[in-house]
């Protein structure tokens, strides 16, 4: 029996390794960027190194780690819950919905709504509305159809993108610039209260999601299969939609629409480490963060002193991967 458990032991080792990579990224990536930062000067709290390090580098690294993790965990979640290997916030249009919601709040100059940053409220409403529309369009005689899901996701993606462009062109110039900047998908210029609020959201939702990992395994086989093994399918589905929307909306509100991380990381982990969501989900969360923070670091180094948005770097990496995946699968 002990030999049989090796799979689990190596799975847990992978989670440990991913956590180590996450911590290493958090500690090391802030030091990398255009213009070197002196370690001694940071520890001596000397200007300008110390403020640059703390105000810019650390906060954006943390945001990259959290947003990448959130999007990648959501990808893993949607792929199991909807039984579709191409499901992720971006392909389902949920990211675009969140983006449209956030853009509208930018355009109407809302700053705070209900005590939280307005873009969060806008993004969450947008994500939830799109998720509902896409899921109900894909619902056919008691089950979700994968093709319908992706087709309606693509449709919603286009509709939301169109409205984002419309919004950008009708508002005044000041707003239009801030919208364009935000749309490129960047992780800079974020405040610590926003990052810590988002960290709390990610922490709570990922605990909720990952603690149901065995249920997601059953859901990946089928809803009837899950129900007759003893899972509460309705509760799982509602929890999955809510957590997926929260994670996506939080990430999108702070970083702009970033795609592919929810596709690349879960697929790599599934094929290289384990398809078991108990391993897959924590690894996706941690490694997704490392990937996005890494892309952000690359973006600020390759054309220094100019900075590339993390979303653009991710698309350059993710686009070819998607093509490769499609080529291999179909």
């Amino acid at each position: 029996m002990s030999g049989r458990r090796n799979g689990l032991v190596s799975g847990i080792a992978w989670i440990g390794g991913s956590a180590a990579a996450f911590l290493a990224a958090a500690c090391l990536l802030p030091w990398i960027g255009s213009g070197s930062i002196g370690v001694d000067r940071v520890f001596a709290k000397a200007a300008p190194d110390y403020p640059i390090f703390v105000e810019l580098r650390v906060s954006r690294t943390l945001l990259g780690l959290l947003a990448g993790g959130a999007l990648s965990l959501t990808g893993a979640l949607f792929q199991s819950m909807l039984r579709d290997s191409l499901a992720e916030p971006y392909t389902l249009g949920v990211s675009a919905g969140a983006a449209l919601g956030a853009v509208l709040t930018l355009a109407f100059d809302f700053d705070r709504l209900l005590g939280v940053p307005a873009t969060w409220v806008g993004a969450l409403s947008g994500a939830a509305i799109v998720m509902l529309i896409v899921a109900s369009a894909a619902w056919k005689s008691g089950r979700l159809s994968g093709v319908r899901l992706l087709l309606s996701g693509i449709a919603l993606n286009s509709i939301c993108s169109a409205f984002i462009l419309l919004t950008g062109s009708v508002v005044r110039e000041r707003h239009s610039i801030s919208i364009t900047q935000w749309l490129l998908g960047n992780v800079d210029s974020v405040s610590y209260p926003a990052v810590s609020g988002f960290a709390l959201v990610v922490l709570v939702t990922s605990v909720v999601v990952i603690s149901q990992a065995r249920g997601w395994n059953l859901m990946a086989v089928g809803e009837s299969w899950a129900a007759s093994r003893g899972a509460d399918v309705k509760r799982l589905t509602i929890a999955g939609y809510c957590c997926g929307c929260l994670l996506t909306a939080g990430a999108i509100a702070l970083t702009g629409p970033i795609g592919f991380v929810g596709l690349i990381v879960p697929h790599l982990v599934r094929s290289r480490i384990s398809p078991d969501n108990r391993i897959l989900m924590p690894c996706s969360l941690l490694l997704g963060g490392v990937l996005l923070a890494g892309c952000d670091t690359i973006g600020r180094v390759v054309l220094a002193p100019a900075e590339l948005p993390a979303g653009a770097v991710m698309a350059v990496v993710g686009g070819p991967y998607l093509v490769w995946l499609v080529r291999r699968r179909f």
Binding site: R83, R214, V221, G222, S224
Partner: protein, 256 residues
């Protein structure tokens, strides 16, 4: 009063404009091996879904051990009833053993399965003849091998009631016989097995009772001996069928 293990009382189900099941009524005890027979669209899968708790009947009631099926919490129900669905997705990313261990969902209360769960899964894989490829990916197996893995998961669940929707689909002839022999064995060990099948001879050779569904109604409920003597129910399946006997006296269905 001692109620039967499974008791269906006037179960009806339908969609607007189409009645699928009409007042289906039967009771079954542990140790029985029952086949559910009928033409395509007769309502067999729907009936099995209702007994599994996957659909709620529009009228009537299913009772399990004297208690309405809907009153059982999902986990406790899953420790008593397992259901093999039809048409499971074939590109599952899991290994064979991971799929079989899913049958232990309702038992494992911890994050990972215990050694007991693994022992049950191993026994089930042994029974369904899939232990040899326990580490292979489900998606790389043939249709028949996949079906055996799903059956093993149902067996690992140690249910009192096994509901099997066409369990012998995709199986080669030897594995079909093996599958029905195993189900008969499970019934002898005390499980109630209800299988939907189109293979009448496989059914007649192994099961003890025949239920015939036609147009959503339970038109025949016969012990195997009576089913062999009174073959009127065959006409409900096809006009081309005729009851005959093998050289050693067992019932055998021929078709013209």
């Amino acid at each position: 009063m001692n109620e039967p293990l499974l008791d269906l009382r006037n179960v009806s189900f339908g969609y607007p404009g189409r009645q699928v099941l009409e007042s289906v009524q039967f009771a079954a005890e542990s140790g029985e091996f029952i086949v559910l027979i009928g033409v395509n669209g007769a309502g067999k899968s729907t009936l099995l879904d209702i007994v599994a708790g996957l659909r709620t009947p529009h009228a009537g009631e299913v009772r399990l051990s004297g208690r309405s099926l809907l009153a059982w919490p999902a986990g406790e129900r899953a420790r008593r009833i397992s259901h093999l669905p039809q048409g499971t997705k074939q590109e599952l990313p899991f290994t064979v053993e991971q799929v079989v261990l899913m049958g232990r969902y309702a038992y494992a209360d911890r994050w990972f399965e215990s050694d007991t769960d693994r022992t049950y899964a191993e026994d089930a894989m042994l029974r369904m003849d899939c232990l040899a490829f326990r580490d292979r990916l489900f998606s790389t197996l043939s249709g028949g091998e996949q079906q055996r893995v799903l059956l093993a998961a149902c067996i690992a669940q140690c249910p009192a009631v096994m509901l099997l929707d066409e369990p012998s689909t995709y199986l080669d002839i030897h594995q079909q016989i093996h599958c029905f022999t195993t189900l008969a064995e499970l019934a002898r060990e005390g499980a109630l097995c209800i299988a939907v099948t189109h293979d009448l001879n496989l059914a007649l050779a192994h099961c003890a009772r025949v239920l015939v569904l036609d147009g959503g109604k339970l038109e025949a409920d016969l012990p195997i001996g009576a089913a062999a003597r009174d073959s009127n129910w065959l006409a409900r399946l096809s006009p081309l069928l005729r009851m005959a006997q093998t050289p050693d006296g067992k019932p055998w269905v021929l078709y013209r």
